[in-house]
């Protein structure tokens, strides 16, 4: 199920900067890279699109459905936080399997099946051996890889990546970039990525926005 992302005069507030407006359409195979100085509002845009931060005006459509006023947990938007935002009381596999319980395609799965699926994704990010480990014992890079697996396993309709590989070592980063691209070619979803890494922007992005005004188009 591939859907377009459409933003119609989508306005949101950036602390200390005022309102920013953004419009454009992103196809299911397109990946938009946001580039700009720290504090310009890139993460705020992602949070607003996910329903985690308030919107001033405008509309957001995923396919034909308007999601502007939909609650965050009903949007089926995948968000990879920069710090991973892993659940402290759960082990690695349980973190990855967490969202499967709530997705339409996997909500009826047994606990074992969900865990197997999680392990399968952990293998893809090279962390299957750590499936039973508590997340408090992971390094920064490992946390980001778990967060990536946790988001992609749920097959979101829109993927938002906030510097998802910033703590991953360069060799592993190239593998993960390739894996993300492969996953997105198999299950294409519109993707918005925040990164400060020019190489990453070139490899992963199909469109780039340089954040240099208060009205942006893509």
């Amino acid at each position: 199920m591939s859907e377009y992302l459409r933003l119609e005069a989508f306005r949101f507030s950036v602390e200390g900067k005022g309102a920013v407006e953004i419009s454009g359409t992103l196809g299911p195979s397109e990946r938009l890279v946001l580039r700009g100085p720290s504090g310009c509002g890139k993460t705020t845009l992602l949070r607003s699109l996910a329903g985690l931060a308030p919107t001033l005006s405008g509309r957001v459509y995923l396919g034909t459905e308007e999601i502007t006023k939909l609650e965050a947990h009903r949007r089926r938007v995948g968000f990879v936080f920069q710090n991973g935002a892993l659940f402290p009381g759960l082990d690695v596999a349980a973190n990855v399997a967490f969202g499967l319980r709530y997705q339409p395609h996997s909500s009826a799965w047994s606990e074992d099946l969900r865990r197997n699926k999680a392990t399968e994704f952990l293998e893809k990010v090279g962390l299957a051996a750590l499936a039973d480990r508590l997340v408090s014992n992971l390094s920064g890079g490992e946390r980001q890889r778990v967060a990536l697996a946790r988001t992609l396993v749920t097959r979101p309709r829109l993927l938002l990546l906030d510097e998802p590989l910033s703590a991953v070592d360069p060799d592993r980063r190239r593998d993960l970039q390739a894996w993300i691209l492969q996953g997105l070619s198999e299950n294409p979803v519109p993707t918005i990525l925040v990164t400060h890494d020019a190489d990453e922007a070139r490899v992963l992005g199909t469109k780039v926005i340089e954040w240099n005004s208060e009205a942006l188009k893509f």
Binding site: G78, F81, A85, F87, L90, Y102, V135, S136, R150
Partner: protein, 504 residues
Amino acid sequence: MAWLSLTGFGLAAGIFPLVAFLKTSLSGWASGGLSLAFGWIALRSVGFTLLQACLSASLTLVFALVIGTALALAEGRFARSLRRFAELAGSLCFALPGVLVALVSLGVSERWAAWPSIGLAGIVAAHVLVHALFVASGVARSLRNQVLGGGAELLAAATTLGASPRRALATVFARPLAHEARTWWPLVFLWSFGAFSTVVILGGGPRASSPEVLLYFALQTDPDPARIFVLSVLQFGVAATLAWLAARRSGASEATSTENFDRTESSQPCGTRIAGAWSALGVGALLAAFAPLWASPFRLLSKGGLPPDGFGVALGASLSLATLTALGVMVFFELLLRAGSRVRRFVFSLSGISPTLLAALWISAGADLWAESAWSQFFLSGLGLACVFAPFAAYWIERELDRFPATTLEAAALLGANDSEILGRIVRPSLRDLRLRLLSLASLGAIGDLSFSTLFLRDTETLATMSRRMASRYDFSGSSWVLATLFGVCAFVWIASRRHGEKS
């Protein structure tokens, strides 16, 4: 579920006092007006209590911050054992006010067991003893979680920027320590302000009294509705105002999220041997200062003798009361967890409800007349003690939730979990340790309680009331059994709760 929390707590702690308020004010008015009850003794007791609570909280923090920082910095097996020991000793102290009664009285006949001082100094010393190690272990845990996970990097960063090691330590620790001070000071103040046993035993008369103690005597020896009313309003008004201010201040200063929530003991601290030595010295000095207290059960036991009459019943009563209190606290904990932040802050502002005050208000409302059977007396006492612990549960829950990384909750919501699922699967398991700590403290508090045990359990003696009776008769042998058992039970409750926490 917020309304459930409000209703439960309101019924238990709000409606009864309100009825009592109206009843006592009417009868007080009828018996000659409130001005008769509002004497200089009541005002003086408020002044004295404010002073002793201020001194107790400040001195406790001086000890606790120094020992807590040293404990946090120290590493190695010895340091871990020391931290555990400080935590155990600190928690046991919550049951000690009852023990204090016996020790001070025994001091009359046994010179070695005498308390160092009576009056302000004695009360403050007792409060420092009761709270310092408990707060120190809390400070140590918090510092290790908040700072030391990344502390090595922080210290290195400060040092490379040109700060001397001492300056770097100050830079890294100043803010977290200030935060710990802001968090603990109001709690220790409120505990000291509402203290009953220590003041009634160590006060030494009207020059060093408190509204709580005057209230107790107004109920026990010279029933006077107008006086009860005035003292209740004084006690509750002052404490509630301070709790409200503390909750506001705490709320304003708390960060909304930190990313260090899941740092655990496995994080590598930047400890030093000197810190280990300092912490050992601090804990040792505090324990040595009160050596007679720690040594008393062992010395008393060495004298032998049979357990006193009614000892088994008293033990059973104490354990029953502790169990009921723990159950009540568990219910309040679940309700408060589901309630909103405003409800929790409101409940914390009711910290002024101390055991004696609540018992007094319930008695004024006629609850003791209703509670004729032993079962109902136990039920009310357990509920009352749980109500007294509920505000602190609210405070701790709020504090822990404030520290919970916001992005973690947002991630769960984005993955499709609703509020109740997030609470059940993410938040609740993370607060397991806090829940166990609260339960063990409430149980220990119930075992050491004298207020409800004296005022409500009219037909049954607990270990605390038994120790008081024996001490007043200078029954050295009987007291030895009670004291030793109190220590043993308290240690068992604490160790069992810790083991369960580690397993789960």
